[in-house]
């Protein structure tokens, strides 16, 4: 059992470990059935499968939105299935999340939208300024920091969400269908941003965009009806 962040400054080999995890919902439907997998530190992984295969359930278990019915989950050295686990906030501060519907704050400008990710963890104002500018530059929005979301396209909104997810030294970036609401060209632009994170963060992307998965040639976990049916180190994927 791993309790808290016991590794100090050492790099971890395994960032995420699911061991025989099952999730049954109260009405009886099984979202995940006895699945086990490991994701290494700084690994780039696609979770693929049809709707209802269990992709989002896995992501929500990583962020502690839902708990497994049985099995063990370790994320960034936190044993989140431990009965005494009380570091949900610390864990979430290590994870950047990106949603299909962007979840940008409509009454805040782009700078503020990204800065909120740093404010919640108590970062200094001067550091917030530097880090937000750097993140906006990475996603190609450095000239739009004072623009409000209503003035941005869907692709730009997703860039904002990515910038928000990567600031604050977050070890893990998880994205649930990040290109689901985007046209093919914009989707590719977004994926290029994810590509820049390769080798620097642990990135987990849930998608059913076969073109993107196949062209990236990264690890692919294929899910079907709550089970992992394929785990390819440099995989492709067919629906």
């Amino acid at each position: 059992m791993v309790d808290g962040r016991g590794t100090g400054g050492n790099r971890k080999i395994k960032m995420i470990n699911f061991d025989k995890v099952t999730k049954k919902f109260p009405l009886g439907n099984t979202a995940l059935s006895d699945i086990s997998f490991e994701i290494d530190d700084n690994q780039f992984v696609f979770l693929v499968g049809q709707s209802g295969a269990g992709k989002t359930t896995i992501l929500k278990m990583i962020t502690q939105e839902i708990k497994p019915t049985s099995g063990s989950i370790i994320v960034d050295d936190f044993d989140v299935t431990d009965k005494n686990f009380s570091q949900k906030i610390d864990l979430r501060r290590k994870i950047g999340v990106i949603f299909q519907d962007f979840k940008v704050l409509v009454d805040k400008n782009i700078f503020e939208n990204v800065a909120v990710s740093l404010k919640v963890i108590g970062t200094d104002q001067s550091e917030i300024k530097t880090e937000v500018k750097r993140a906006l530059e990475l996603v190609g929005l450095s000239k739009k920091e004072f623009v409000f979301p209503v003035q941005l396209s869907a692709g730009e909104l997703q860039r904002v969400a990515i910038a928000r997810a990567i600031v604050g030294n977050r070890d893990i970036i998880i994205a649930d269908e990040p290109t689901g609401n985007l046209d093919p060209k914009t989707a590719w632009d977004i994926m290029k941003i994810f590509k820049k994170l390769e080798g620097k963060r642990t990135v987990i992307i849930a998608t059913h965009n076969t073109d993107i998965v196949n062209s990236f040639q990264k690890r692919v976990l294929v899910l079907k009806e709550g089970k992992i049916i394929k785990d390819q180190r440099k995989g492709g994927y067919e629906l």
Partner: protein
């Protein structure tokens, strides 16, 4: 402060509704609070008035009267006893009838009875003291306004109980209505709260703006309630002056501090303002705390 104002501007109807509810509650509370304070003050005042007067027969020797007085004093139920001798009674009589020489000529000190004016510690001891006196020898008459005291006790107990029930209902109603108002407001920000939770915000960080806004509304509503109440009190000051004519001071005991409530004074008004502001801030904060709870379970 800027964030609070921005939030109010973005949801003006919900904020205004919350403000009106708070104002209504605090204004009623203020009236209730001040009325009860005056009621207690008046009760305290009445308790300092002579309550039982016992007239002895003319021939009763002074040492017999002093014996009764000493026994009463040692009972622990009496605050003070004033002995009025035949001569004292005659002097009082003369003072009362100084404009009527005919009445003065007809009366001498010999025909006036000596008496004791007994001040009880609490009105509830009065019947007991009166009964005790009636059993003593040499007593001519025991004057005790039983009906008035009984009615006063029943009335004050009823008012206290009614005020408590009404006050509790008022608090409950305001918290429920305010919570619902704030819930409407927060429902618009559910997505934002979920996001903040997922990126590691503490519950305190998420609650802070809502609680601060409620605090602001609570203090603003209590200030307005107090201003209107003060205006009404000052407007009716003449009426109050004539109503309390003859009463020099009314006071209540607050943690062993005698607070003067009449004549109206700045200390009393300051204490009322501080109390109502704290009360407003507390119920507004409790309501926003309960309302935010619903969305913090992510």
């Amino acid at each position: 402060m800027r964030d609070i104002w921005t939030s109010i501007r973005r949801t003006p109807y919900q904020s205004f509704s919350a403000f009106l509810i708070l104002f209504f509650t605090l204004f009623l509370t203020l009236i209730l609070f001040v009325s009860l304070t005056f009621l207690y003050g008046t009760l305290n005042y009445l308790e300092t008035k002579p309550q039982v007067t016992v007239y002895f027969q003319n021939k009763t020797p002074e040492n017999q009267i002093f014996k009764v007085r000493d026994e009463l004093m040692s009972s622990g139920k009496v605050l003070n006893i004033k002995y009025i001798s035949k001569n004292d009674a005659f002097n009082i009589y003369k003072q009362l009838n100084k404009d009527n020489p005919l009445l003065l000529e007809m009366v001498s000190a010999d025909i006036l009875p000596p008496s004791l004016e007994i001040y009880a510690k609490k009105p509830i001891y009065l019947p007991e003291i009166a009964e005790y006196l009636k059993k003593q020898g040499d007593i001519d008459e025991v004057q005790y306004e039983k009906d008035i005291i009984d009615k006063l006790l029943v009335l004050t107990n009823t008012i206290r109980m009614s005020a408590l029930i009404f006050f509790s209902y008022l608090i409950l109603m305001s918290i429920v209505v305010l919570t619902t108002m704030i819930l409407f407001k927060i429902a618009l920000k559910e997505s934002e709260i979920t996001l903040l939770k997922l990126i590691g915000a503490t519950n305190f960080y998420i609650r802070k703006p809502y609680v601060l806004e409620s605090l602001f509304l609570g203090i603003a509503a209590s200030t307005l309630s107090f201003s209107i109440f003060s205006f009404i009190v000052l407007y009716f000051n003449q009426f109050l002056q004539s109503y309390f004519k003859g009463i020099t001071t009314l006071s209540v005991d607050i943690f062993n501090y005698q607070l003067t409530i009449w004549p109206l004074n700045y200390i009393f008004f300051t204490i009322v303002f501080v109390s109502i502001s704290i009360f407003g801030a507390v119920i507004a904060s409790v309501a926003s705390y309960i309302a935010t709870n619903k969305y913090l379970k992510v």
